[in-house]
Symmetry: C2
Subunit: 370 residues, 2 copies
């Protein structure tokens, strides 16, 4: 049957059936509740915006992935959102421009892109995140990393690991102790990210070679990075990373890959990626940045829970179900529901409680095993 | 500021800011929890489908309202969903074709249409609903009407009223005691729906005139309808309406408008519309029908909670917020969150708890008024 459904839906789009939908809903609720508990207020931007307004807040690469269509009302081009972060930035810069800072906002919703990628063919996915607007300090980054971990924990993720990066590392060094011209800077960034030592040297970035080896488990890697930093240009960043690491000690396995750039092109001094045991690929990422347009400092993260849903859905509990025979005691059924039972009422004599996945039947005012 | 935001968004699309987003989330959760309690399993169809597959399950009028665009992958036309009911019907007919009946499914999500209407300019809205698949009996209709009311009650709607209709009334009478040819039948349906007595008589539907007056509070209206039914052609329908009415006695004000057709063109013997005090327009509707394609009997309802959100958002409670000063006791903050407090942590000395909407501050391990 599954094949038939897939036939009926475009590539990369799918239905979530009961177990999977229940897992997705539980995970989203748990994440949003964690964010609410830490003072983050939810906002809900629309699915669709003017393409121009959305594109202005994004980089060129990502806008190519938008589903676009002409609005018969305005005759302008609209786009289906592919990322909610830019929408939250817009809200912070407009409707909530006068709200006190730091402003804590969270969100959850579906996003879509016209093409998936090799690792993930999905074209519609769930995005859940939190943004701390008006701050990109070490304290802000620490709160955001901790909240991201807490959100994964309450969602049931285990064996969480966090990989730290310093997105503006090359710029910081090139502006300081290891000067590079603009063209070389770009090549050095790319080859460092690719960890291609030969190409890095060929590009004139030999001085940056040791950074390739400053990656690994956090404590050793940050030591190696500090040892390389004989001018102290990275001093505040290294201190910041250590403070953040201290906050999450014992809650996540921590690594550092200081020259990782891919996916962090628009972050400022700090970025991180989240993983969990048994879940394919990254579960989310975040960091410090400046909001497109307003330029306000911000720190945030986005989680993409679909892969977590896939990992846990087979074991998702569907609740205990009790069958209510014809002519049952309706008040007793109310009591059972209030106590957390899910009731399934007979509509006719031919309804069969067991076939309808009930383990119990309402009998003499109580749930009896079927 | 609000005006600026509206400027940035296409007509009929809007951001939900914190109070409004909190109300929308609370209402959707409450509705889904009520449905889950009655044995309805959530499913989650995608935002986008092939236009053709979606249109085949809808009527021509509604497909004109779909946002459409070409899929660069399949080179086929895709559509953004404007109604989730047809998606649930598709799932029931394909992936869940072999699941035991009656099959209880529920759903919640955003839907969009290219044009709003005079009464409601919104082009994106929330749809929440339940479908009982495999049954369109009086028992099924009763369960569905009761569940719709329960879903509105838990969402905080008050002064709920339900208007019953008999969508196939004219066909039933025209096939029986009050014969009409096919062309006249359509005119009679339309003029009855419009309650235009003159046009009804002109169209040759004089015999149907008394039906115009069989509308009003349920008890009197159903009496008048029964009095008109001297051949007994409507006997089972009238008996069914009375049984459903009996189930919801005391929970909703009940009216009957037996010849109301608008919006029920695709229902079979039973339809209903839901209203609540202080909420503009209908909050939802439902009834018995046959699933497009498979033809399987079903009963269900859809709720459109946006108007309810608008009515309650100003009073939406945002939770009690406690400020956590720099260097606060982190374990004490965990305890407060577990007890339902929302915490707001200082990031720097300049953060001001009162400005950040906190009523309390964590001090000596407890929340003290600020």
């Amino acid at each position: 049957m599954t094949d038939l459904t897939q036939d009926l839906l475009p590539e990369g789009l799918e239905d979530r059936l009961p177990q999977s939908a229940a897992a997705a809903a539980r995970i989203q609720r748990a994440m949003l509740d964690a964010m609410a508990g830490h003072g983050y207020d939810r906002v809900r931007p629309p699915l669709i915006e003017f393409e121009q307004s959305m594109a202005r807040r994004m980089d060129g690469v990502r806008t190519r992935k938008l589903f676009r269509f002409v609005d018969p009302k305005s005759l302008r081009s609209l786009a289906l959102r592919s990322d909610m972060t830019v929408q939250i930035g817009r809200i912070a810069a407009t409707s909530l421009a006068d709200a006190p800072r730091p402003l804590r906002l969270c969100y959850a919703g579906q996003v879509a892109r016209i093409a998936g990628d090799m690792l993930d063919p999905r074209r519609e996915y769930q995005q859940v995140g939190a943004e701390l607007i008006g701050a990109d300090s070490v304290a802000a980054a620490g709160e955001i990393v901790e909240l991201a971990i807490a959100s994964l924990e309450v969602a049931g993720a285990t064996g969480i690991s966090v990989d730290f990066t310093l997105p503006d590392l090359v710029d910081t060094l090139a502006d300081g102790p290891l000067p590079l011209d603009a063209a070389t800077r770009e090549t050095v960034r790319r080859e460092l990210d690719a960890k291609d030592a030969g190409a890095l040297v060929d590009a004139g970035g030999a001085a940056y070679l040791p950074l390739i080896h400053a990656a690994g488990p956090f404590e050793e890697a940050v030591e190696r990075l500090a040892a390389l930093d004989n001018t102290g240009a990275l001093g505040s960043r290294i201190k910041g990373l250590r403070q953040i690491a201290e906050r999450i000690k014992g809650r996540a396995r921590l690594t550092l890959d200081p020259s990782e750039r891919h996916g962090f092109e628009y972050q400022s001094w700090f970025g991180f990626t989240l993983y969990a045991e048994g879940v394919r690929g990254a579960l989310g990422r975040g960091g410090t940045y400046r909001i497109g347009g307003s330029g306000e400092a911000a720190t945030g993260f986005s989680l993409y829970p679909d892969a977590l849903v896939e990992a846990v859905k087979a074991d998702e509990p569907m609740g205990k179900r009790v069958f209510l025979p014809l002519g049952h005691d309706r008040a007793a059924a109310d009591v059972l529901r209030a106590a957390g039972w899910r009731t399934v009422a007979a509509l006719s004599d031919s309804d069969d409680g067991k076939a309808l996945d009930c383990t119990h039947i309402l009998s003499a005012g109580a749930a009896k095993p079927l």
